[in-house]
């Protein structure tokens, strides 16, 4: 018995409205997830590409200003076409786009890892310990529950996708010559934020749907790994097979020793392949096999939002020969199939996720 037993006291505080009730679920979910040391390490590691992005944009600003400090960075830019480094203001927009493109390419991997850590238990653990009556007997709607859980995923992905992208943009502006760069790159900022949100919402809804399918979060994690890895592997294998078939169709294996290393058109084999898949300097491959990979679909829409393919095309014009341009675009640009194919696939997955959630979490309207 406590020394001073106050017993039950009435509470006369004010309750907040319903609009932001989902935020309590998000806050709680983030707090619980952040207790994992592994998650914290992954978050730290995921910030390394962000530092690289900030450094790249800042260095490019110094290069545009012809700062003496830029000399330090030039030695690290040897891999670039000398024409780009020689005219940094002209190619500034393209370099920013490509820097963001690489940043998101790496962060997409970290995003998948973060979802693997945070996502599987979001709903499956609630199902396992029968927490739904506790949620829905309080002033919560199903949409609040879903939004709250989705908010957990968006918070973590936002920390490694959107926040670093915005901070890097601000740093890039601070190191730029003048504010005209805002006019040239503001679309990129919007595209980066939109791409970050696309990844967060799409992957978030998908993991919630998977999480609602079972009570064991380990199985959900396996499903996620399957969706991520297996779809990518299958897509890569099919794409490789397709390329091989194209290569053989265009250039069948010789039945006699070749007298020359050149094909019938007089082009070398890579050039021949390039011209098979590119027309008028623009790659035109409509290879649907890439659609089988979830992350490739995200990347394709991301390439559209960030304008990375356009940036590569601009830089490829520095190549003196058409085959050089083709090679550069084939090697670094792409994927080249229409972006809306991937958008349709992602929209389909989103619709499927909503259906699964709607069917799996039906409040308490069922007979015991």
């Amino acid at each position: 018995m406590p020394i001073i037993d106050q017993g039950y006291q009435h509470w006369s505080g004010r309750l907040t409205g319903h609009r932001w009730r989902w935020l309590a679920i998000t806050r709680h979910g983030v707090k619980i997830a952040m207790r994992s040391y592994f998650l914290r390490y992954v978050l730290l590691a995921a910030w390394v590409p962000a530092l690289v992005l900030v450094t790249t944009l800042s260095a490019w600003g110094l290069l545009e200003r012809k700062s003496k400090l830029a000399r330090i960075f030039i030695q690290f830019m040897q891999f670039m076409n000398p024409g780009v480094v020689a005219d940094p203001r002209r190619y500034g927009g393209a370099v920013w786009r490509l820097a963001y493109g690489y940043f998101f390419h790496v962060e997409l991997f970290f995003a998948m890892i973060l979802i693997l850590i945070v996502g599987p238990g979001l709903i499956s653990r609630d199902l396992r310990v029968n927490a739904l009556p506790l949620y829905f007997s309080r002033p919560l709607r199903r949409i609040d529950y879903f939004l709250g859980k989705l908010g957990v995923v968006i918070t973590f992905l936002g920390m490694v996708l959107i926040v670093p992208a915005v901070i890097a943009y601000i740093f890039g502006l601070l190191f730029s010559v003048d504010l005209t760069v805002v006019r040239d790159t503001f679309g990129l900022l919007i595209g980066a934020v939109a791409y970050g949100l696309l990844i967060s919402v799409s992957a978030g809804m998908l993991i919630l749907a998977l999480s609602a399918l079972g009570r064991n979060s380990r199985y959900v994690a396996l499903l996620w790994l399957g969706l991520w890895f297996v779809s990518s592997v299958v897509s890569s294998v099919l794409t490789s097979v397709h390329h091989q078939q194209q290569r053989y169709a265009y250039h069948p294996p010789p039945t006699f020793p070749l007298a020359t290393a050149h094909g019938p058109s007089g082009l070398s084999q890579p050039d021949a392949l390039s011209s098979a898949t590119h027309q008028h300097g623009v790659p035109t491959s409509h290879n649907w096999r890439a659609l089988l990979s979830y992350t490739t679909n995200l990347s394709r829409v991301g390439a559209k939002l960030l304008g990375t393919n356009a940036a590569w095309k601009q830089i490829s014009l520095l190549e003196p020969t058409a085959s050089g341009r083709h090679r550069l675009l084939a090697r670094f640009g792409g994927p080249w199939y229409p972006w809306y194919w991937s958008a349709i696939v992602l929209a389909g997955l989103l619709g499927l996720s909503l259906c699964v959630l709607n069917l799996s979490i039906r409040t308490l309207d069922r007979l015991k």
Partner: protein, 313 residues
């Protein structure tokens, strides 16, 4: 619906709820005053469905319901702000310690985070979980989990507390504590209570008023004290010796005599007084050891109600 809204805790008007071919609530109409209400009924009688209907968790197929003066269809979120609910099933928010569990429940109702945490400590003190508030809830015993759910249900100081089978699976000491808490909240803390249970002694220990459901319909409703009223002209008598001749004599005098164990239930004719029992006993040299007016037990009230409608138990 009749009656003053302030004097009605909740009211259902011809509420029907079906699950496919099964009718859980069959045009149920009931009007309940504030206080401690016991909800009784055999399995499948519609108790849980009625509770879920009151919370707005399931839509009724027909009829209307009002809780604390608010329409269940239109203001279910407002109603749930004023209700605390302790579900029957074992259910938890995973991965938290006790005090976080209760604070989170408060935040879900709309309490500011700081208030919720402060209040969580207070209600955990009240339900007797002070010492284990920093333990993972998954490690709690069944009794602790029930008290934890009770703390989570009362954190926002609700006007109506709904307890669905709160003593299920509890040991006698834990059950006694839970009943004491429910009684205290209902009778000293100005909180109305809807107490659903199969255990009649539990309901009798906590509640003043009962509702008995059977096959989704209202069988009996009323104040427990009134339902257990004295039967006029009916007495329980226990004799020292065998009362065969005593019974026969009373039957000859126009009494209805029924043997129940070692007790005789005697209904004397209208206009007679209990003195005839003493006189008959003296005439047959019988010694009366026990004589008192007959009262119904809650069990009898319940069983009679269920038998009247042929509800399977």
């Amino acid at each position: 619906m009749s009656g003053n809204a302030a004097s009605i805790l909740f009211a259902l008007e011809k509420v029907t709820k079906t699950y496919g071919a099964i009718t859980a609530l069959d045009e149920l109409s009931v009007c309940v005053p504030p206080g401690a209400i016991g909800l009784l009924g055999p399995n499948g009688s519609g108790k849980t469905t009625m509770i879920r209907t009151l919370l707005g968790l399931i839509p009724a197929n027909g009829g209307s319901a009002r809780v604390l003066g608010m329409d269940v269809r239109r203001r279910q979120l407002d109603i749930r702000r004023l209700i605390g609910f302790v579900p029957e099933d074992e259910c938890l928010f995973p991965g938290v310690v006790g005090v976080e569990f209760v604070a989170y429940a408060g935040e879900l109702v709309g309490m500011p985070a700081r208030d919720a945490m402060q209040r969580a400590h207070e209600v955990l003190d009240y339900v007797g979980l002070t010492e284990v508030r920093y333990r993972q809830v998954e490690s709690y015993s069944s009794g602790m989990k029930q008290r934890l759910k009770l703390a989570a249900a009362i954190i926002h100081d609700p006007k109506l507390l709904i307890l669905d089978e709160p003593t299920n699976g509890m040991d006698p000491a834990g059950r006694k504590d839970m009943l004491a808490l429910a009684h205290d909240l209902a009778h000293h803390k100005n909180m109305s209570l809807l107490f659903s249970s199969h255990l009649l002694p539990d309901v009798e220990a906590v509640c003043d008023h009962i509702i008995v459901l059977g096959a989704g319909q209202l069988l009996v409703q009323g104040n427990i004290r009134e339902l257990k009223a004295v039967h006029p002209g009916s007495f329980e008598v226990r004799l020292k010796a065998d009362g065969t001749s005593f019974s026969r004599q009373l039957t000859d005098l126009g009494c209805a005599v029924q043997r129940r164990g070692d007790m005789l239930l005697i209904q004397i004719p209208p206009g007679s007084t209990p003195a005839m029992l003493w006189q008959t006993a003296a005439a047959h040299q019988q010694q009366i050891r026990h004589l008192r007016p007959q009262r119904s037990t809650l069990e009898e009230v319940f069983l009679n109600a269920v038998e009247r409608t042929s509800c399977p138990l």
